[in-house]
């Protein structure tokens, strides 16, 4: 792992050298999905709160940017900042509602809240464009760089995704992050030790929502379009899949999961038409046979293999 990190970093920087622009775009999509999944992992893996409504925050940010840059007349940076603020505020409010429950109740409240936002995106046509969504977005031009080419947009995405991932890693390793994990494992004990369990979970909820918002901003600039399908239950399920399949509660897990799902969606789907079925099957198999996820699971297999051969 120590050797892996710098190799990985270099590999990330060299991606746009891949001759096919299609794969460079896939790489961008993986980065966006990785941010999205990592943000959900804060809730699922570290706080122990499984949410089925996370797509809502990505959607809110995306719609906010879309609306503000087309109808609102704001510049790209201002739109992104306002969008993040709106998403954070939404997560703050929804977090209060969702945290009235734990476990299944939490899951269902987040599902319902996600559905409410999807319903608004779908039905409030005057605001969101309804089924047609909002089109005609332009990509930003940070410091005058043109982001039309896949390679340029990839570097832009990397420049945003990397610090976000670093912030998430820092959060997890911080005293607050230790408190979050402690409350996941022994909430009663942590409370008796003086930790405010509710507040710890709520802060994590808001942070997770903001992280999804960052992904949403990248998403909408990548696609230059947003529609209500982005907030639907299937997408919330898909990002959950990414977290669980890669390994909840680890930093690399959601990244591995994101890559797996995006590759399945884009690359495998060219060869196997039934990639959704494959996705579902992979999911079921992982939950049944490798519940800790691909990351830790493969790590475990690797170590048991090298132990048995030595």
């Amino acid at each position: 792992m120590k050797l892996g990190a710098p190799v990985f970093a270099v590999a990330l920087l060299l991606v746009p050298l891949i001759p096919s622009p299609y794969y460079v775009n896939v790489a961008s999509q993986i980065l966006i999905a990785a941010v999205f999944a990592s943000s959900l992992n804060l809730l699922v893996g570290y706080a122990g709160l499984t949410s089925l409504g996370h797509a809502a925050y990505l959607g809110v940010a995306a719609y906010a940017v879309a609306w503000l840059t087309t109808l609102g007349g704001l510049g790209h940076l201002a739109a992104a900042l306002v969008a993040l603020a709106v998403t954070t505020a939404t997560a703050a409010c929804f977090g209060v509602l969702a945290l009235r429950g734990t476990g299944l109740a939490f899951l269902m409240i987040t599902l319902a809240l996600g559905q409410i936002l999807w319903g608004i995106a779908y039905r409030w046509v005057s605001l969101t464009g309804g089924d047609n969504g909002i089109t005609g977005l332009t990509r930003p031009q940070p410091f005058g760089f043109d982001l039309t080419s896949p390679g340029a947009f990839y570097y832009f995405t990397l420049a945003i995704a990397a610090p976000t991932a670093a912030a998430i890693a820092l959060y997890v390793r911080s005293p607050l992050g230790a408190a979050v994990q402690g409350t996941r494992d022994q909430p009663r004990r942590m409370s008796a030790l003086g930790h405010n369990v509710w507040m710890v979970n709520w802060i994590t909820f808001v942070f997770a929502g903001t992280g999804a918002g960052v992904a949403g901003i990248l998403f909408v600039y990548y696609n230059q379009f947003i529609g209500p399908q982005t907030l639907n239950l299937t997408n919330s399920a898909e990002v959950l899949l990414m977290v669980i399949s890669g390994g909840a509660g680890t930093l690399l897990g959601p990244i591995i999961g994101a890559a797996t799902v995006v590759i399945l969606k884009n690359v495998v789907s060219a060869y196997i038409t039934r990639w959704v079925m494959l996705l579902g099957a992979v999911f079921v198999l992982i939950v049944v046979f490798m519940p800790e996820g691909l990351g830790p699971g493969l790590h475990r297999l690797w170590h048991t293999r090298s132990k048995s051969t030595s």
Partner: protein, 291 residues
């Protein structure tokens, strides 16, 4: 005036369908503590199977049975082969694992249906005997919708009698109330679980066939129906048949009137009660336990 009557009937019909969908969900949730997120897909699968049965020349009643049986069989296999393996895990992990597995299965069924039956929405043809319109009190409405309501009421009655008057029903009720105690007193947990799961799936499947002429059959029907089942069960109370009954018709009405009166906010109107219930009265109207 006609508007209110017609929409009320539509609300009743939708309520009836929701009852078939959510009664099974509620029983499975209440007895087995499994939030079966595949339930919407069972509804859809049943509808597709019914569609094929009708296409093969079978009559409506047989198609209804076929839809129910096919889904029951699938559900039984899922319960025995997959869900059972998860039952041995510690409670905190078990709930999550079951949710995720049933979600994955929903993906598989949904894509499978897309593969076999294609992507075009298909209305299930109304059987001739149940077609036509009824003229009463100066209004005209489709006879089929009345039939749906009647069938739902009959099923509700049958389920109620089953739960209250049979041994199996008593066992189910005991299990829903206090599983530990019931298992300790010798309840045949394994067989009961499979029975209830198959029953729940069958009800959903039949609901799909019955709903075919009204809702059509299309990819995405599963993700449209699942949240409705959740709202009904949360509102009515987990494991409560009465709750599923009352909840179904309340939601049927709310959704139908919401769609026509406030289309922009139809979904908000639908889910707000669910959020309110979970926040203010977690055990719902008639439930004994919170989620």
């Amino acid at each position: 005036m006609a508007f209110w009557v017609i929409q009320s009937l539509n609300g009743l019909a939708l309520g009836g369908l929701l009852f078939l969908l959510s009664s099974g969900f509620s029983l499975i949730f209440g007895l087995m503590r499994v939030a079966n997120l595949t339930h919407g897909a069972y509804f859809m699968l049943g509808a597709y199977v019914g569609l094929s049965a009708l296409g093969a020349g079978l009559d409506f009643a047989t198609a209804l049975l076929a839809g129910g049986l096919a889904v029951a069989l699938f559900g039984g296999l899922v319960e025995r082969l997959i869900l059972r393996r998860l039952a041995a895990r510690p409670p905190a992990q078990r709930t999550l694992a079951q949710v995720l597995v049933t979600l994955g299965l929903a993906f598989i069924i949904a894509d499978g249906c897309l593969w076999i039956w294609g992507g075009d929405p298909m209305p299930l043809p109304v059987p001739a005997a149940l077609g036509g319109a009824v003229r009463a009190f100066g209004f005209v409405f489709p006879f089929y919708r009345l039939v749906v309501v009647v069938i739902a009421l009959l099923v509700a009655l049958a389920l109620w009698l089953g739960l209250e008057r049979t041994r199996v029903g008593a066992m189910i009720r005991a299990g829903v109330d206090d599983m530990e105690m019931a298992a300790g007193m010798g309840l045949p947990v394994s067989r009961l679980f499979t029975t209830v799961f198959c029953l729940g799936a069958a009800l959903a499947g039949m609901g799909g066939v019955l709903g075919g002429p009204i809702l059509s059959v299309y990819p995405g029907l599963d993700t449209d129906m699942l949240p409705l089942a959740l709202v009904v069960v949360i509102l009515g109370g987990i494991g409560s048949l009465l709750g599923a009954f009352v909840g179904s018709f309340i939601i049927g009405f709310v959704y139908t009137f919401g769609q026509t009166l406030l289309p922009d906010l139809a979904y908000v109107i639908l889910f707000l009660p669910m959020v309110l219930v979970l926040v203010l009265r977690p055990r719902g109207l008639f439930g004994t336990r919170a989620a």
